[in-house]
């Protein structure tokens, strides 16, 4: 019975007539069984990896360095927090150096990178004054807001929020996951959490100011300057130097992460590129312009016809 069935199956498969070539049409009765597969025609329209761009190792490193920059930023911020917390540095020094670098950055940004200085300077000043007045006014509130929460919770929260910041930060790639507002909110949340551990409201204000300068203003300047490598190197060296003074173990961890980000991840990315296989074929959905452009177009058509009438 088994053999018989197999025989029948194979005859059903191979019941071909060589007279007429098989055609990929449905409207014609062809002397081939329904499950016939023509080796020559089958999947002829299949296309793989259309206009794919092979990314070299250096390009991958350049891309990863954007993440490195933001990671260094986070580490630098946490370092500043610890230096203020343990009073290894006068908080006023931090405030002054932040102020000077902000002013320098602002001058460079407004006078060299953007043209409309006169129009914007008023609103910029107003923003600055608003921030200082309200920041200083509410710093006692920020300082005691999360006072009752235990330090362990604060540090865990800081870690999670910084991770959120790094994940959702706008690295200049148009992915769906990018959300600048979320990443900035995470950082502000972090700085308010950490501010409650500091000794005075003044220090809390300095920490929040630092967070705003480093995570709101600095990325804007950096993007405008096309992410220069000098910043990355500077941050890397400064971070390593100061971390070394705080803890050797943390320094080793930091350097390991840097190697991971800068060398291992790009290597893996480049290595696994060869497994990329995008399949295209006649079954793909055609892409059309979206409805908005059609409405706009029909608008212009309507105007044309109105012109014709006139």
């Amino acid at each position: 019975m088994n053999k018989d069935a197999e025989m029948k199956q194979s005859s059903w498969d191979l019941q071909t007539s060589p007279n007429k070539p098989w055609r990929k049409v449905l409207y014609e009765k062809q002397p081939y069984p329904d499950n016939y597969t023509d080796e020559k025609m089958f999947l002829r329209d299949l296309k793989k990896n259309i206009d794919i761009k092979e990314i070299t190792f250096l390009e991958a490193v350049a891309g990863a360095s954007l993440l490195l920059q933001e990671f260094c930023n986070v580490v630098a911020f946490v370092l500043i927090y610890f230096y203020i917390l343990y009073e290894w540095i006068d908080p006023f020094v931090i405030l002054v150096s932040m102020g000077i670098s902000t002013v320098l950055g602002f001058i460079y940004y407004r006078f060299f990178l953007s043209n409309s200085v006169e129009n914007r300077i008023g609103s910029d000043l107003r923003t600055l004054i608003t921030f200082i007045v309200f920041g200083r006014l509410f710093s006692p509130v920020f300082h005691t807001l999360t006072d009752t929460i235990s330090t362990d919770t604060i540090y865990t929260m800081t870690f999670v929020m910084m991770l959120v910041h790094l994940i959702f930060f706008d690295y200049g790639v148009g992915a769906a996951i990018v959300s600048s507002s979320l990443s900035v909110s995470a950082v502000v949340f972090c700085s308010i959490c950490l501010a409650s551990r500091l000794s005075s409201a003044n220090n809390a204000f300095i920490l929040i100011t630092t967070a705003v300068v480093m995570f709101v203003l600095f990325p804007v300047l950096r993007t405008e300057m096309n992410n220069p490598n000098s910043f990355k190197v500077l941050f890397l060296l400064l971070n390593t130097y100061f971390l070394y003074h705080v803890s050797i173990f943390a320094t080793i961890l930091f350097l390991l992460v840097v190697i991971l980000i800068c060398i291992i991840f790009p290597l893996l990315y480049v290595h696994y590129q060869k497994y990329k296989e995008n399949i295209y074929g006649p079954w793909d959905e055609a892409i059309v312009d979206d409805a908005d452009s059609i409405i706009c177009n029909s608008n212009s058509i309507f105007q044309h016809s109105a012109d014709d009438l006139r």
Binding site: N2, D45, W283, I294
Partner: protein, 434 residues
């Protein structure tokens, strides 16, 4: 010829409307005429629960399962085992025929049927890309289901290529059997056409995948260029506002008629009023609409996507790329030929389509598939597990095993011998009932 007891399973059946529903109904009717026994399994629609009989004694089970998302039941895999097992035993089913990759019920019933020793056939009605996450997930699901399915049917050669690629089935296990159209109800009637202007008919659901954005643009452009063009649009959907907007803005209220959604039986009455049928689908496995239009003797202008180029012979269709300029050109060619009188006689069209596609032929070809799967060996549990293993989703073996165990438990709880056997009868042998 052997008579089989066939169970059609799909989430999509009347009163829901669409290509799959049409296909199941017509195929079932033809199989009934050939003396087979056909039962349809679907989920409940509103208060339509229980058993219903349709034309020629087609028995439809509306199972009391809640709809989860867009007429689909929640894919629980094990919750409906008692019910489906009971029906399969009661109706002494030989072959389970699942329809549509979206139908969770079909996947579920095919799994249960496999483990109960029945043969399974699956018809895939749609095309999938490989780009987005939802496609990747659905493709994995269909790969799991098809890994242990006896035979698969696709509605076009492009559909077969697509299924073979995404479900990784052996191409010899996939047959191509197109849909058909009831050409006896879709007959031409040239007297209904208007003499002094040209009517372009569009019949489709107004959703993005059917290319409503293209249609809207074409309405605006074509009406501006030709004063004698009128549009007749049947169908409803989330993109209807776009057509209304274009009609409003271009001041075409008198020339563009939106009929809203129609009963399938009324579609023919709309089609015969037109000269040209426009189809702007962005993806389509087979496209029933253009065959219906050709059957009514209309000139068909359609986008060249999916399986559409295979469906109609060159002289009945103007194929274009899926963009506005190409479609405009296709329509202009059709209009020019129409003005010159270069048309295939509508009645000749109908006969041509009738030769290509009729349910009689389709059901005969489906019967061949049934015969073939009926001859295949019944697999043991280990063989089933081995088949499912080939899909690469190991945890699914647990689902299969659990289903098997539940089936075994039910052999004790509700033994086979206590289940009433439904008498087989159909209109060919009505006297057997007494």
């Amino acid at each position: 010829m052997t008579i089989y007891r066939i169970c059609m399973v799909s989430d999509f059946f009347f009163p829901n409307m669409g290509g799959v529903e049409e296909h199941i109904y017509n195929l079932s009717q033809c199989l009934l005429l050939h003396g087979h026994k056909v039962v349809v399994l679907t989920h409940s629609y509103g208060d339509r629960v229980g058993v219903r009989y349709m034309t020629n004694g087609l028995k439809v089970y509306y199972l009391p399962i809640k709809v989860f998302y867009s007429q689909c039941v929640l894919p629980t895999m094990i919750c409906n085992i008692p019910l489906i097992r009971y029906i399969l035993i009661r109706e002494r089913i030989d072959i389970i025929h699942g329809h549509s990759a979206f139908s969770a019920l079909a996947h579920e019933a095919m799994l249960i049927g496999n483990l109960m020793g029945q043969k399974t056939v699956f018809t895939d009605h749609s095309l999938f890309g490989f780009a987005d996450a939802s496609a990747a997930i659905t493709n994995k699901f269909i790969q799991i289901t098809l890994s242990d399915c006896n035979h698969c049917i696709c509605v076009s050669h492009t559909g077969k290529e697509n299924t073979v690629l995404r479900a990784k089935v052996d191409s010899r296990r996939v047959s191509v059997i197109p849909n058909a159209v009831d050409t006896y109800s879709f007959t031409p009637d040239p007297s209904q056409r208007t003499k002094n202007h040209i009517t372009v008919v569009v019949v489709s659901r107004l959703v993005y995948r059917k290319g409503v954005d293209l249609t809207a643009q074409i309405i605006a452009d074509l009406c501006l260029k030709y004063k004698e063009i009128y549009f007749l649009i049947a169908g409803d959907g989330p993109k209807r506002w776009l057509l209304e907007e274009v009609r409003e803005r271009s001041g075409l209220q008198d020339r563009v008629t939106l009929l809203g959604s129609l009963e399938h039986s009324q579609v023919r009455n709309v089609l015969v009023k037109g000269d040209i049928f426009l189809n702007t689908s962005l993806t389509e496995a087979y496209c029933m609409a253009i065959v219906e239009a050709a059957s009514c003797g209309l000139k068909v202008v359609s986008t060249k996507v999916g399986g559409i180029p295979e469906v109609l012979p060159k002289k009945l269709i103007y194929l274009t790329e899926p963009n506005v300029p190409a479609l405009m050109k296709g329509l202009e060619n059709a209009i020019r030929d129409l003005k010159k009188g270069k048309v295939v006689c509508p009645y000749e069209c109908n006969i041509l389509v009738r030769k290509c596609y009729n349910w009689e032929n389709i059901s005969l070809r489906t019967e061949i598939v049934y015969q073939k799967v009926a001859q295949e060996n019944t697999k043991e549990l280990a063989e089933h597990l081995y088949c499912y293993l080939s899909s690469g989703v190991w945890p699914f073996l647990l689902v299969v095993s659990l289903t098997f165990i539940i089936l075994k438990i039910y052999e004790y709880l509700v033994p086979r011998k206590y289940i009433d056997i439904a008498p087989d009868y159909n209109q060919k042998t009505p006297n057997k009932i007494d």
